[in-house]
Symmetry: C2
Subunit: 360 residues, 2 copies
């Protein structure tokens, strides 16, 4: 099938979506599908006859808004094969993946929700892909570690028959930055915990409300995805221990501002963890791990030996270690920026290329 | 096309080949092509009617030996699509890749020779793939770093439009082991250089003749491949500076034994490099690098800051850093075992799965 017979729909043109559309535009024509649908929250652009559209016309579009079922019908009726790129973090869109896939529409996405919510949704997605006999596929590299080759590496390990025994690492750029600043391995860390959180918020390294990072749920979702790919039937990101770094009394703080104002009251607690680790010559880090054999997943503070890759991390880098039977004592390690529009979009674009290469 | 219409030929059943055949046998039937040809140096097994063969029957095979052109004809005439897995390190087989590809036969291989010899061979391979319009493909993940996702990551970076500015790392498990033992970052290194080379030889960490590691050509070939994938027109592995660790007077030693006997005469030289680095608080490592902007490739001893990932390597791990425009100051890093039958075969098997997914 010639590549001109591939049709693309794109939902979401925020930071990742904008970077993705720019990367898409610079692909060679032989790898560029025809963009026939693009949407943001309250705008959609498409034509009933599947003409190529330009994302730059989205803002002025007066197209009637299609519901997700209508979009499914629209994309499944293209004159060729259709691919949906979902650049949102919407649960509603994620819930529709099985319908898209069952209608032969492939899905490429950095959206963690589809793979880290209910086990039923995960199973529905896997089954829809299997039933399509290679015609509808899901690629989601950027759902863990942005453009870092995490998902693809884990899939390759499993598909070639290696036994993944343990996955461990730092899966949040925000958490990485906070702890690399608060408790660096060289002992140079100054500043109280609340000050470092405030600096990170200021610099845009946290979500607008830092509690959305500090509750650990972003990391828990990533671990859910990896654990499932490694073969564990994890019910969801709330089905295993996740240590929230939001002090209990501040969980009900009304606003992000109130939270930040009161956070210094709890500096002593974090200082205590840090000092206790230092007395053993260690540092604290926010670590996620999957023990595949024992079927256990957990996310939270750990004390880590200095000199290990996790303790030596810098900036806001992610680090993921795969321990496997073949790799033995020393893990396969992947490290680098795990967040940001450009690198997240890179994972999406690279996935899209793979889907196109398979479909054409 | 159904997967049963995919036909597989395998050349080479040594360490990597044996591990590969074992991984192949455990793939699910939907991903397993029909093995119709298998060979080792002086034996071949196949049938004119493309019946499935079993590698275990190779030793007792009395099949007439096909030349490479005859094998090309044989595989290009299967009733479906054919894939050749080359598990040798043969230049002769590598030289035949363009012919295989032009006849629609895809190639999967850990053989570095095809991609690191003359620029003409590289160009012929690239052109044959391009001309096939997606019907014949080459995958060679294991040609650098064995099963580590090095080639695929570099290809994804380039294909999605990132600018790779610099590639740097430790690309030889043998060199890694030698220097991590001789000059570990924690200063614990005892033992003279020649003793450590002898230990490594004893443990099977070097080629039978350690000069085949110490001449740096293995690393130079890997750097040639990466530099070409990053866009540089490197003429070959001897077209840029490669520092050999074979003392000049021993280059002409008749045998590996004579070389090992005389190596201690040159311990002072390596000790000198090590001490000079130590006086700056650094360690020596055998590093390969590609400066993409300047178009420069080099391989040899470098002094490396303690605390950096390269200085902190352990065992015989490889480490590859990709510096790119999108990733900024902190590189994308991949680390782990870069040699060994099982992990090399894993890269081959994972590549084969990708080819099958594209062809079926």
């Amino acid at each position: 099938m010639s590549p001109s017979k591939l049709y693309l729909g794109v939902i979401g043109v925020g930071g990742v979506g904008t970077a993705f559309l720019s990367q898409l535009a610079s692909l060679p024509p032989s790898l560029r599908p025809t963009l026939v649908f693009v949407s943001r929250s309250s705008k959609q652009l498409y034509t009933p006859s599947y003409d190529a559209v330009s994302a730059s016309d989205l803002q002025s579009s007066t197209s009637r808004l299609l519901s997700l079922p209508e979009l499914t019908t629209y994309l499944s009726s293209t004159p060729g094969k259709a691919i949906l790129v979902d650049n949102t973090s919407s649960q509603e869109v994620a819930d529709a993946y099985p319908s898209f896939l069952r209608r032969g529409i492939s899905v490429v996405t950095p959206n963690k929700k589809a793979f880290s919510s209910s086990l039923q949704l995960w199973t529905d997605i896997v089954n829809a892909v299997d039933a399509s006999n290679g015609q509808a596929m899901v690629y989601h590299e950027s759902s863990v570690g942005a453009g870092l080759p995490v998902i693809s590496t884990l899939k390759d390990l499993v598909a070639t028959g290696d036994q993944v025994t343990r996955i461990e690492g730092v899966f949040s750029g925000t958490m990485s930055f906070l702890f690399n600043s608060f408790a660096p391995a060289d002992g140079s860390g100054k500043g109280k915990w609340s000050e470092i959180v405030a600096q990170a918020k200021e610099a845009g390294y946290t979500e607008p409300d830092p509690r959305d990072d500090l509750n650990g749920m972003d990391v828990a979702r990533k671990l859910t995805i990896l654990a499932r790919l490694a073969g564990l039937k994890v019910q969801g990101p709330d089905s295993f221990p996740v240590q929230s770094l939001i002090p209990k009394p501040l969980g009900s703080a009304d606003s992000s501002d109130e939270f930040m104002q009161r956070l210094p009251e709890f500096d002593g607690e974090m200082e205590g963890y840090k000092d206790a680790a230092a007395q053993e010559g260690k540092v604290i880090r926010y670590v996620g791990s999957v023990d595949v054999g024992a079927g256990k997943v957990k996310v939270g503070l750990e004390t880590v030996e200095k000199g290990t890759p996790i303790a030596s991390l810098r900036g806001s880098d992610n680090l993921i270690c795969f321990y496997t039977k073949r790799y033995g004592a020393n893990p396969l390690v992947i490290q680098g920026a795990g967040a940001g529009g450009e690198v997240t979009a890179m994972g999406v674009t690279a996935d899209l290329i793979k889907v196109i290469e398979r479909l054409r």
